[in-house]
């Protein structure tokens, strides 16, 4: 069977499964549509949160970023710690209390706790901007994955993906999304770990990639990371495990990712679906178990893929110094079946090589390093000849580099699609709920009936999918800035407001609104100064590099400072104005203890 048929079969089977779940898990009430009837088992919710959280970026790009970053693999640990450490904050500071509050959306909590429609609307705007930025990346990811594995146009792929999400998200709301995400998690984690296990076995003899990363490279008898450090420095790249040169920025970036994770509404609402407060705490733990399964494999995939790539281009490097032997020859790439993956990926344009000096060999090294460049010129090399290696190849080409069977390649394709679709659905639900529950029921028509609100929720979801599909086809300039924008907003506006709402009785409506606005505006202005105003190219005031950043703080890391601004302004404004009214103080007392949280039947009456 050829690769195309296999891809079609595996992807088709997973899609049939998602549609089957959509028909089985239709939503009959707003409680089912917004919160899956609060009847989701904490372990299943953990699994769904894992799929919700791990996007196309985590699945396809993260290991490649760790592998190929010019600052070295160590500095990218910020992603690993940041995107997992946020779950500790969720479990300790937010999830149990927001579950006890027992309503449906994040802006609804902010509106009730700060007894202010303006606070609720500021939260709605933050939610929509953060989630929409995020969803565009997922939609384009769906299109690209389809185009590569099913040989359709990227726009056709996008329409197919949007139709599938439409089926289960509009019919089933949170209920349909939750159970589809459970299935999608199983697909994506299998697809991610199988190639990683084979590569780890191959390079280190360790079955577990987590052990292989800190194990011994069998071919050379040297520790894997020591071998990698030796090779990449010989080629003129920065040491893989080398210490960061900008510690303050790495700390702030990690913190921004952590508090941004804890403040992203599509993650928080997942904890509204479990039956009890105690379940919300445990469920955050289960979510991290399922996320850690991928996040502890990713650094191993990164290091091993980088080693494989280097020894492919420098065959002598397996056992000794790279430059002591010849580079891979052009003829070998053309004829050796083991190297056929290079040609496959060169066709997609994600990888390219060029024999610049015409010696019949492809020399790969860092021509930006003056010492290595001088030595290379002495040998008659006229520049680095591996001219392009896209980060995404590190995961996508793994099965081919490891010479795994065709069904593993098909599974990786299905896994990438599962990661993108599950995150897209979760984000779209957060946006649709904010529109139907916070804007329509909360502000425009509070007397809307249960049936009317359910219909409004379905229409909002359908509209959100149409808008996301359009933006996926015509991505605006800010789509590439997901990390800066979504995490910056969540970190600087939503997380501090939620935390102060739970842990302080003194923060009042004025404090919350001014705090959120100043955190948000401070963060956005700092991002715009370096990335362009509203991301229009050429409108940035200062070049986006470390020499121009204030104290070396990158626009990606500024969310942490924005959060501090939010806390400080909220505190100062609240102290200068009146205390929150008695009923709000009682609301805070009541969310702090688990007793008395409504169970599913009671909330269905909401």
């Amino acid at each position: 069977m050829d690769q195309f048929t296999l891809n079609l079969l595996v992807i088709g089977a997973t899609f049939a499964l998602y549609i089957g779940i959509a028909i089985w898990a239709r939503a009959g009430s707003t409680s089912e549509f917004y919160a899956a009837g609060r009847g989701v088992h904490p372990v299943l919710n953990g699994m769904a949160t894992g799929a919700d959280w791990m996007s196309a970026a985590s699945f396809i790009s993260m290991a490649g970023i760790i592998a190929m970053a010019s600052a070295g693999g160590y500095e990218q640990s910020a992603y690993l710690m940041g995107w997992t450490g946020g779950y500790v904050l969720l479990a300790l500071l937010l999830a149990p209390y927001l579950r006890k509050f027992g309503k449906f959306t994040v802006p609804e909590f902010i509106g009730d706790r700060f007894y202010s429609k303006s606070a609720r609307m500021v939260a709605v705007v933050c939610l929509i901007v953060a989630s929409v930025t995020y969803v565009i990346g997922q939609m384009t990811g769906v299109g690209v994955a389809f185009a590569r594995f099913l040989e359709v146009k990227s726009s056709t792929g996008l329409y197919i993906g949007a139709t599938i999400v439409f089926a289960y998200a509009v019919l089933g709301g949170m209920k349909g999304i939750t159970y589809t995400q459970v299935a999608q998690y199983c697909v994506l984690i299998t697809a991610y770990t199988i190639p990683a296990i084979f590569i780890s076995l191959n390079l280190t003899g360790n079955f577990l990639p987590q052990a292989g990363l800190f194990g011994t490279h069998t071919a050379s008898g040297v520790a894997l990371l020591a071998k990698l450090d030796q090779l990449v420095t010989e080629l003129g790249f920065r040491q893989y495990t080398g210490m960061t040169t900008n510690m303050l920025n790495m700390v702030l970036f990690t913190m921004s990712l952590m508090i941004g994770t804890a403040g992203l509404p599509h993650v928080i609402v997942r904890f509204f679906t479990v039956p009890k407060v105690a379940d919300a705490r445990a469920s955050a733990g289960w979510a991290l178990v399922f996320i850690a399964l991928l996040y502890t494999v990713a650094p191993a995939v990164g290091a091993m893929a980088r080693l494989n790539l280097t020894t492919t281009f420098w065959p002598n490097a397996v056992n000794g110094q790279a430059f002591d032997g010849p580079a891979v020859s052009v003829e070998d790439i053309a004829t050796n079946p083991d190297l056929n993956w290079i040609n496959n990926w060169a066709k997609t344009g994600l990888l390219s090589f060029e024999d610049k000096n015409g010696d019949g060999f492809i020399q790969y090294y860092n021509e930006g390093n003056p010492t290595v460049k001088a030595a290379a010129e002495a040998k008659g090399w006229t520049g680095n000849e591996l001219t392009r290696v896209n980060n995404d190849i590190m995961v996508l080409a793994n099965p081919e580099i490891g010479k795994l069977p065709g069904w593993v390649i098909a599974l990786v394709a299905a896994g990438g699609l599962a990661a993108a679709l599950s995150t897209a659905a979760g984000l779209l639900l957060a946006v649709a709920s904010a529109i139907s529950h916070d804007v329509i029921k909360g502000a425009i028509n509070p007397s809307i009936s249960e049936k009317g609100e359910l219909l409004a929720a379905r229409i909002s979801m359908a509209a959100a999918i149409v808008v996301a599909t359009y933006l996926g086809l015509n991505p605006p300039g800010f789509a590439a800035q997901t990390v800066a924008l979504a995490f910056g907003i969540a970190a600087a506006s939503i997380f501090p407001a939620l935390m102060m709402g739970i842990f302080s009785k003194r923060i009042n409506n004025k404090g919350a609104v001014w705090g959120m606005l100043s955190g948000l505006i401070f963060t956005l202005v700092y991002i715009f100064i370096y990335k362009g105003w509203f991301f229009f190219p050429g409108t940035n005031q200062l070049p986006d590099n470390v020499d121009n950043w204030v104290f070396g703080i990158s626009p990606l890391s500024i969310g942490t400072v924005g959060a501090m601004v939010n806390f400080a302004v909220a505190y100062a404004v609240s102290l200068a104005s009146e205390e929150p009214p008695q009923e709000v103080q009682e609301l805070i007392e009541s969310i702090r203890v688990p007793k008395g949280a409504g169970s599913a039947p009671h909330l269905a009456m909401h």
Binding site: A91, L225, A284, R592
Partner: protein, 85 residues
Amino acid sequence: MADKSSSNAYWKANIRMIQLFLVIWFVVSFGFGIILRPMLSGIAVGGTDLGFWFAQQGSILVFLVLIFVYAWRMNRLDKEHGVEE
């Protein structure tokens, strides 16, 4: 709001626990993983040093333990103060 004094004691105990757990959360990630890495560079772990291990694996494992221990301790605290569901 049946028993305010009990729920105050409950809340204080909860806050103490949160503070302790957040200190551990901070030390294993920002501490051992980043700020203190140069001081720990003498401790070798699998071809690199302890700080690198904490940054790429150890901190995540500690995060997992923290959440489950917190959930377990809170369930006990809920029962002691009679505020469980």
